[in-house]
Amino acid sequence: MSTIEERVKKIVSEQLGVKEEEITNASSFVDDLGADSLDTVELVMALEEEFETEIPDEEAEKITTVQEAIDYVVSHQ
C-alpha cells in the first residue's frame, strides 16, 4: 500500500501530465505545474474518487499545492 503522499502525487502526475519527479510537496498546481481552472476541478474530483471523500467547494478552493492536498486528505481520513 502506498502512502497518502505517493497516492496524491500519482494523481497529480496523471491529471496534469507532469512527471512525478517534477512534483514536490511545495508545487503549486497553477503556478508550478501549469494547471488551468478545469484541471484543478478535475484534480479535486480525482482526489475525491481516490480517497472516497467529498471535498466541499469552499475547501477545494484552498487546495492549491500538493502539500495542501495531502494535508486535506490526512485530516479527513
Binding site: 488551468d36 478545469l38 478535475e42 474530483m45
Partner: protein, 247 residues
C-alpha cells in the same frame, strides 16, 4: 477514433427524432442507450434496437429529476461504460399566448427542455473529461432563432440551450469534447401531428422544400456531429429545416 463501441445516450428515444437518432447511431456501431419516461417505452426501445440488430437497450429516465439522471448514468456506466456521446433530445411543448400562459406551463417547458441539459451534461462530463473524448449534441429548434406565436416558453428554452451549447463548447474544448446543437424545422412526429390542417398548409408555404422533414433527416445531422468526421466543429448550431430559416 470512430464511434464504434462507444456508448451513446439518447434521451427521449421512444419515438420521433430520438428514435431515428438512436438507430442512426446504432447503425454506426455505437452501443445505444435510449430513454423513455415509462417502463413500457423503455422495453419497446430495447426491442426496437434488437430488431434492427443494434447494440444497446432502453432505460427509464425523467430528465426533470437530478436523481433519475444520476442513477441512470450510473447504471449505464456499470452495465456498459461511461456514455461519451450524449444526445439531449427529450423535449415537450406547452403552447399558449403569453397573456394566458400559466407559470407551470412556463416552468415545465424550461425544466424539461433546458434545465435537463444542465443535469445531463453535468452527470456525464466527468466520463468524457477522463476519456479525453466526448460529443454532446443538443436538439434545439428553428423556433430558437425565428420565434413563434404561442411558444415564448419553448423559444426561450431552445435559445437558452443554444447559448449553453456555446458556453460548454468553450469550457471543455481542451478535453477534446465537442458540444453542438441541431435546430430542426418542422418534422413529422407526434409533436407536430397535433397541428390543425389549415395551419399545416400555411406552414408549408414558409418552407422552400415545401414539406415537413422526416425524423431520419434530423438523425443524419446528429449522427454527423457525433461522428469523427465532425471533430473540428464545436459550439455550432446546425439548421435542418428545408430552407425556412436561411440567413
Amino acid at each position: 477514433m470512430s464511434i464504434e463501441g462507444k456508448v451513446a445516450l439518447v434521451t427521449g428515444a421512444s419515438r420521433g427524432i430520438g428514435r431515428a437518432t438512436a438507430y442512426a447511431l446504432g447503425k454506426m456501431g455505437a452501443i445505444v442507450v435510449g430513454t423513455a419516461t415509462s417502463e413500457s417505452g423503455a422495453q419497446s426501445i430495447s426491442e426496437g434496437l434488437a430488431e434492427q440488430g443494434y447494440k444497446g437497450k432502453g432505460y427509464v429516465l425523467n430528465v426533470t429529476s437530478q436523481e433519475s439522471v444520476d442513477s441512470v448514468v450510473k447504471a449505464i456506466t456499470e452495465e456498459f461504460s461511461a456514455p461519451l456521446i450524449v444526445i439531449n433530445n427529450a423535449g415537450i411543448t406547452q403552447d399558449n399566448l403569453l397573456m394566458r400562459m400559466k407559470e407551470d406551463e412556463w416552468d415545465s417547458v424550461i425544466d424539461t427542455n433546458l434545465k435537463s441539459v444542465y443535469r445531463i451534461a453535468k452527470a456525464t462530463m466527468r466520463g468524457m473529461t477522463k476519456a479525453r473524448w466526448g460529443r454532446i449534441v443538443n436538439i434545439s429548434s428553428v423556433v430558437a432563432t425565428m420565434g413563434n406565436m404561442g411558444q415564448s416558453n419553448y423559444a426561450a428554452a431552445k435559445a437558452g440551450m443554444e447559448g449553453f451549447t456555446r458556453a460548454m463548447a468553450r469550457e471543455v474544448a481542451s478535453r477534446n469534447i465537442t458540444v453542438n446543437a441541431v435546430a430542426p424545422g418542422f418534422i413529422a412526429t407526434d409533436m407536430t401531428h397535433a397541428l390543425p390542417e389549415e395551419q399545416h398548409k400555411a406552414l408549408l408555404t414558409q418552407i422552400p422544400l415545401a414539406r415537413l422533414g422526416q425524423p431520419e433527416e434530423i438523425a443524419n445531422a446528429v449522427a454527423f456531429l457525433a461522428s469523427e468526421g465532425a471533430s473540428y466543429i464545436t459550439g455550432e448550431t446546425l439548421q435542418v429545416n428545408g430552407g425556412m430559416n436561411m440567413r
